[in-house]
Symmetry: C2
Subunit: 246 residues, 2 copies
């Protein structure tokens, strides 16, 4: 292995196996959801003394027998019970001292999930949704990871039909616009927003009205099936060696 990576023999001798396999690799998931007209992220209370009272993202070490891109699916499945989620790799963070207890390089993914989804069960209530806007500080470098993922989400949300992963299948244009406003952190003009979305051609008019609003109901829409693929990180077959915690 070391040979493959073009070190010379003399150097190889000097380097113990452990020295190069001394770095752990993890994934961290920035799991976004949308409720109460605000973007939320799923956090867990850090159990490290160094970070007592702080929250952190959901992550886990990557297993030697799973693809990197499979690891965040596993984390999500374990923690939320959901397995049909939108996931996208964003960036890999690897400062020497980013983790207090050792050298861990982490690949960050963001995920978009519909909080009303049936399967969603928050693992032992250890997990809580936090409004993204109110998060000032997280354990490790997780605030930077969160900010990086939020920025990426903002870059992509107007270009690709991904925001719909945060909504139930049927939604009104008002709900959709409020979602976009929550993600982007800006107010949008209703007419211009509708024009833009119409131009994308992502939506299918159901010719059905909302029935749960205390005012004039709006039309309901769905994302056209053609756009329903959950692209991004591929979900390859996992070959777990019975390490799954459930």
């Amino acid at each position: 292995m070391i040979k493959d990576l073009k070190l010379k023999t003399a150097e190889i001798e000097k380097i113990s196996h452990l020295e190069y396999f001394n770095i752990a690799i993890s994934v961290d998931c920035v799991i976004f959801s949308y409720k109460d007209k605000a973007l939320h992220v799923l956090l867990i209370k850090s159990d490290l003394e160094e970070y007592s009272g702080l929250y952190s993202l959901l992550g886990d070490l990557v297993r030697p027998d799973e693809d990197l891109d499979s690891a965040p699916y596993r984390v999500l499945k374990q923690r939320t019970g959901m397995d049909d989620v939108y996931l996208e790799q964003v960036h890999t963070f690897g400062s020497i001292d980013r983790h207090v207890s050792g050298r861990v390089i982490t690949t960050a993914y963001y995920s978009l999930i519909d909080i009303k989804h049936q399967k969603l069960k928050l693992d032992q209530n250890e997990l809580h949704w936090h409004p993204v806007k109110e998060i000032k500080k997280l354990a490790f470098d997780h605030k930077i990871i969160l900010d990086t993922c939020l920025q990426r989400l903002r870059e992509q949300v107007m270009e690709f039909p991904i925001a719909f992963n945060l909504l139930p299948p049927k939604f009104s244009l008002r709900e959709l616009q409020e979602l976009y406003e929550a993600i982007l952190g800006v107010k949008l003009d209703r007419r211009n927003f509708r024009k833009k979305i119409a131009l994308k051609g992502w939506l299918q008019d159901l010719n059905v009205m909302e029935n749960d609003v205390p005012h004039r109901p709006g039309k309901l829409y769905i994302l056209k099936p053609a756009f329903k693929k959950r692209k991004a990180a591929k979900r390859s077959i996992q070959r777990n060696r019975s390490l799954v915690i459930e």
Copy 2:
């Protein structure tokens, strides 16, 4: 460490240290340059039997005592002698079987360098520039890494003042346009290109003419100093333990 990542004690016992530290992490550099009016990439002949005759990207294992983002700088410095390069992290590739000799997860960076730079000395002539367009196959998953990095470069080149890293300090608008055409793989309209570049405000007119062309010379420009920062991956201080190969 394992505790921090939220495995439970029962599980920890089952997992040997080596099992989790069994994954190596590397960086691979897609080093772009520009010559003969074509985008080139720096490759090395693979010395693995499995890939005999194929070329591969320049990479190395990340050392336990260097930041992830520092590793590609080290690789570039060692291989080309250059240390003031533009580098940007693109994506991390981690399929189980992407590397024939073991589990290696790799973070890909692309780099832009001026091939006419004085310091550039290709390590023992093992390295060669290949026109990107002509590359059909590479060792490992390096063709996919190359494609991913090229795509990212194309996305960024109109938005940020980075293409200039591929040119000598002084250049004509013709050279700049030819460079953009090489990167993007399309012909551009001269007047529209100039208008667009002018609008960006990146360039400073030197009021000096080319003198090495067999036709009417054009004006020479430089990138305004304010835009000369090599952003992207930060170059943190390395704390190497005398492992540098030179």
